[in-house]
């Protein structure tokens, strides 16, 4: 309870600010209606918070929309946010795995081959300075021509974003064993691959999880961004785009929240995996 209290306080404060903001944000639409109903504080609240096509929907409207598009429809219906979340999550996860593997492989290369650090690292960093919104359409057009499945095309954007934190974290992690531990391996005349498997990789596990938690969240962003230029009909990105075409703010907010819940679930799952593996590796409880 003591741990939940600070979070709940902030949540409550945000909800209050949100409800308050609905009044001025929706004023353009609601002012005549409030006047027609005779004005007054009660009418102001009633109209501001229940506008059918609001500029800023109120929290309960958003949650009603989420409820209606998750619990009240078949999970695989085109209207279901669970279906759209699944479409986005599947390409997120594929991209996350691909990007994570690429990140680890690059880090292993950089740690073992001196020239790779000088030749590759600037490119690794430069790759992240290009706005993803600029590169996503090009990647998707190019990859689309190759006839790869849509899932892989979208996943490549996620992979492009999420290999970077893994590379940076793993380079640090693979170099984390101290001089004494490295000398120890030399006294055994251990090969580079033995040192990698028995010393460097286990030592880098805490670094790996820290990077993966960052990666998984941006992998989801990548998957959503990848859905925008493809004109995808399914996925959280498609819902966002569709909502903005038709000025349906409720749909946008509902999709945003579901995406946020999805990201939170992914980060939580990684945290659980981290706790489990660190416990198995004998970390102090």
């Amino acid at each position: 309870m003591t741990r939940a209290l600070p979070v709940l306080t902030i949540t409550l404060a945000l909800i209050i600010v949100w409800y308050a903001a609905c009044i001025p944000m929706n004023a353009v639409l609601t002012t005549p209606k409030i006047a027609a109903a005779g004005g007054g504080f009660a009418n102001t609240l009633a109209f501001s918070w229940n506008e059918v096509r609001p500029v800023l929907p109120s929290p309960h409207q958003v949650f009603r929309e989420i409820w209606n598009t998750t619990a009240m429809v078949e999970p695989w219906a085109i209207k279901s946010l669970i279906y759209h979340l699944w479409v986005t999550l599947s390409s997120t996860l594929v991209g996350f795995v691909l990007g994570g593997l690429l990140g680890v492989i690059l880090a292993i290369g950089i740690v073992h081959v001196g020239s790779l650090e000088k030749s590759l690292m600037p490119w690794v960093i430069a790759s992240q300075t290009i706005p993803i919104l600029a590169i996503a359409p090009m990647l998707i057009v190019v990859l689309g021509k190759t006839g790869l499945p849509d899932l892989i095309t979208k996943a490549s954007i996620s992979a492009y974003l999420c290999f970077f934190p893994v590379t940076i974290g793993m380079v640090k992690g693979l170099r984390s064993p101290d001089v004494m531990q490295q000398d120890l391996m030399r006294t055994y005349n251990a090969s580079a691959s033995q040192t990698l498997w028995k010393l460097r990789l286990p030592a880098s596990v805490p670094f790996l999880f820290a990077s993966l938690k960052v990666s998984v969240a941006i992998a989801l962003t990548g998957a959503i961004v990848a859905e925008l230029p493809t004109g995808a009909v399914a996925g959280i990105g498609a819902r966002l785009l569709n909502g903005s075409y038709y000025g349906n703010t409720l749909q946008i907010w509902a999709a945003l929240f579901v995406a946020a819940f999805g990201a939170a679930a992914l980060v939580w799952a990684l945290g659980a995996a981290e706790a489990l593996s660190l416990r198995r590796m004998g970390a102090k409880p």
Binding site: D183, T187, L199, P202, G282
Partner: protein, 258 residues
């Protein structure tokens, strides 16, 4: 060719640092025979650790000739001729006690891993702690695990770099006693770096007194004490005489700077 386990002739080592060359070792000549317990003693900066690391091929002398088991230091390292105990236990924190002792055996692909682990943990009196992780052990126990690990693949030569330096006096006395028993039982050749005079005299058959700038040997003392020693020997006149000679040697090495 002498049959010595270690033979050094005029070994020198110069480190190139940012502000000029540092002569870490100068004209080191030393021979260690099989079954000896040799201590290297001296103040910090005298090159005792550098000499030990050179024997282990972790540092590379720039002049002279250094042989281990009749091979060059590098060949000896590649042949896994020695076990090395560092100043700190340097255990892998994600491995249990037995998995830490198993590490060199896995790397070297030796057989009878379980038997070797059990024997060597028994040798350092750590039976019953196999499944513990390093952080669950005291500093002294951790260092004993690292000794068991160094002995696990049964090297004839044991190199120890101030292994008990970070431990308190009481634990250190006990481990010194255990180390002597272990040495008597296994017949290893041991080279032991320390800066404690009583420790050096108590343990050694031979004491090499070193002095800094440049790192060199200023005295080699043969300790005539019997092989079976207990801590009481430290009050005997012979013991005190040798300790006095070590102290005089250390003083002589220092006189030029004070």
């Amino acid at each position: 060719m002498a049959s010595g386990v270690i033979s050094a002739e005029n070994v020198g080592l110069i480190f190139q640092t940012g502000d000029g060359a540092v002569e870490a070792l100068s004209k080191i000549s030393l021979s260690v025979a099989e079954g000896e317990f040799v201590s290297l003693i001296g103040p910090s900066g005298c090159g005792k650790t550098t000499l030990l690391r050179s024997i282990a091929n972790l540092e590379h002398p720039t002049s002279g000739k250094l042989m281990v088991n009749g091979l060059s230091a590098e060949q000896a390292r590649l042949a896994r001729a020695y076990g090395y105990v560092f100043q700190a236990p340097a255990l892998l924190p994600w491995r249990t006690v037995e998995a830490n002792v198993r590490l060199p055996l896995e790397i070297m692909g030796l057989d009878d891993i379980a038997g070797r682990v059990a024997r060597n943990l028994a040798l350092v009196n750590l039976k019953g702690f196999e499944k513990k992780f390093p952080w669950q052990l005291s500093g002294g126990m951790q260092q004993r695990v690292s000794i068991a690990r160094a002995l696990a693949f049964d090297p004839k030569l044991l190199l120890m770099d101030e292994p008990f330096g970070a431990l308190d006096e009481i634990v250190r006395d006990k481990l010194n006693q255990q180390l002597l028993e272990l040495w008597a039982r296994t017949n290893k050749t041991i080279v032991f770096v320390t800066h404690s005079i009583p420790e050096a005299v108590f343990l050694s058959t031979k004491i090499v007194v070193m002095s800094p700038r440049p790192g060199r040997i200023i005295d080699v003392i043969d300790v005539g004490l019997p092989k079976n020693r207990n801590l009481d020997i430290r009050e005997s006149p012979e013991f005190l005489k040798i300790a006095h000679r070590v102290r005089e040697g250390l003083k002589a090495g220092h006189s030029y700077e004070d």
